[in-house]
Amino acid sequence: MSLASRLAQAEAFLTERTGYPWSLAAWKNRKLPGGQSWGHALGFGLAALLLLQMFSGLAMTLYYSPSTANAWASVVYFEQEVPFGTFVRALHYHGTNALIIVTGLHLLYVVLNAGYRRPREAAWWAGLLLIAVLMAAAMTGALLPWDDQGYWASRVEIGIMGTAPVVGNQVQQIALGGNDLGNTTLTRYFTAHAIVMPVLLAGIVWLHVSLVKLHPAGAFAPQRSVPTVYWPKQALRDAMFALFAVAVVFAIAARFPAPLEGPADPSGGYPARPIWYFRPLFELRRHFEGPTEPVATMLLPGLAGLFLASLPFLDRGQTWRQRAPFVGPVLLGAALAIFSTSASLQRDARDKAYQEDRAESRSRAERARLAAKSGVPPQGALYMLQNTPESHGAKIYADRCVGCHMVGGRGSDKPKGPDLGGWATHDWLTGVIAHPEAPEFFGHSRVGGMDPYEKLGPTKLDALAAFLSQLRKYPNTPAEKLPAAFKSEVELFQTEGCDSCHSLTPGEASGATNLSGYGSDAWLIGLFVAPSSDVYFGSDNEMPSYKDKLSERDMLDVIAYLNLIREKPVQSRTGAIEVAAP
């Protein structure tokens, strides 16, 4: 039996049972009166990208947990523990970007070729509806990781929903699942994103494609080339473009993981920005203040949508001149969108304060991911992050230490002890050796008696400071047992007379603070327990003992916090007194 007759048999088999006229020939010979073109391939490329989204999305739903306590942790788990997890999530993220860009190109192509003319209006409207559903899918998806970016962007979007006339409040509450963003919001958004949108997309795509195929050409069909049929020229272009689009997404996803900020903190100060494809609206809104804001967020976009929908009736001309008043605004709109997105991104790039905030958010996200490796407690990732040793230490510091110690020039207005910003670093030590009586060191303290050693000169000061800043690595180690590399510094320490008051022998009191293991955990705990001991600050000391007030765990947490601010002194850029909690 020949291939052709086998095929005919198979087609007849399917047709008889399904009622649908299966025919490979009909598919191959679909007429294209305008000839083949790459522009036609854009739609097929979109279908391929949608399929990519469905697969990558499905893979993620195998691991995702839609509750405020678990969502972020489940996404991080997927990325860190599941093979190709980061790649799959990146595919989904960059796939969205690709979908939006190709949709834009597809729309422009259709407008330029007036592909919506009679009798194809319905296909065009189905296409516009698809854009709306795509935007809704993008918006709902962004909230699902419950990270700072998704949370705050959704907060703004839901806030905008509330400004809709008449039904604004009700729509907002239905979207929120109540009175505020929380568990019920996340479950609704998940339902919308993973169930409702895919069904809608599949249905409307099927409708759109059926309608397009029903009318191979509209009343205005620019002749691209000789009229042809689908196979092989257009089929080849479709396949190649789809492959190209998917390959580009794969390539970008392999190199750039999807962004993930730290767990959403409802009380936090995250520098919120909309995702790039909403930036044009973000920019537009800047020109409308207060009560006129709905003009930018609803009226103008609504009018733009209406204009696009009406194009089949408005754009009836045959020459470019006749078409210009309708095609022109579309091209202008596209250009404005691109330009305003770029301008908005550039403005943010130049905004120092914003960049600092973003850097802080990124480091917070890193800390959270690291902590999540050992598992997230049932209260969730935010709880985990807020109860790390550093953040617990920050709270203890704010309760107990801020009254007497400044950090980086900020803090107590009646300081009694040294400024702890950069404490025990090379620079701090250089300063305290040169001028211990300075107000940022022991100037306010009753503890005194050390001469300023500025006279030693920069070289010797530098050597001593460098040496002392390393001592925290050698607790309980007498000077003789220190590494040979420090031999010359130890000698300097002795020849300049430092050791006449400061001993380097563990536990020895010789008139001033013992510097053995200076800055180590053991040294600090000893200080917290007995600051008035002769091994520390002696009888002139004003710092209270924390022996009965803090557990050893508490002390270690404070030390963790002190280590944190040693590298980066806390200095709220807004000038407010604030002890930063991670």
């Binding site: 239905i174 009175n179 995250y270 919120a272 409308f288 203040e289 207060g290």
Partner: protein, 181 residues
């Protein structure tokens, strides 16, 4: 079947037509009623408070923790019920100012425009600034420039002995008048 069914209600004699409409109407009505539980899942939240927290005053510190004419941001930590979950976490934050004339003011750090966290710039002219859309507010919370429809939300604050107490409330965003949410 030997008899052809009538093509439309208009073909039926009037009594049968009435009966058809009654049956069809009841059928559709029954379908609508059957759908109600599902629709109710969607719209039940309207008017419901799914996110709740205590409005008892929170202790935010000692009087001496606040320096005169220097707003300080204090995180408010308390018990919250979010849908089916009970938790204790930061509910939000308040900007608390101890004024030189002895007054105390507390403002919610949630921008009344679209909910971003308010910053303090340290400048005397326009001290409070929202980094999202650049709404600015005076030290007394009044809205100056920017898209915010109202000023900062004042929170009830009182002094008990040496302690400062603040009640935390959340308000509906982007409204001219303050409405508790």
């Amino acid at each position: 079947m030997s008899e052809d069914l009538p093509l439309s209600p208009a073909d039926l004699p009037s009594q049968d037509r009435r009966r058809f409409l009654v049956v069809a109407g009841t059928g559709l009505g029954a379908c609508g009623v059957a759908l109600l539980p599902f629709v109710s899942s969607l719209v039940a939240p309207v008017g419901r408070r799914t996110v709740r927290f205590a409005s008892d005053p929170f202790d935010v510190g000692a009087i001496s923790d606040f320096h005169v004419d220097e707003p300080r941001r204090v995180a408010i930590r308390g018990r919250i019920t979010d849908g089916w979950q009970a938790d204790e976490r930061d509910l939000g934050a308040a900007w608390i100012t101890r004024h030189s004339d002895g007054r105390w003011t507390a403002f919610s750090s949630i921008c009344p425009h679209l909910g971003c966290a308010i910053d303090y710039t340290g400048k005397k002219e326009l001290p409070f600034l929202c980094p999202c859309h650049e709404s600015t507010f005076s030290l007394d919370g009044a809205a100056e420039k920017g898209p915010s429809p109202r000023g900062l939300d004042a929170l009830p604050i009182k002094i008990e002995g040496e302690r400062v107490l603040v009640e935390f409330h959340r308000y509906v965003l982007n409204q001219k008048h303050q409405v508790e949410s």
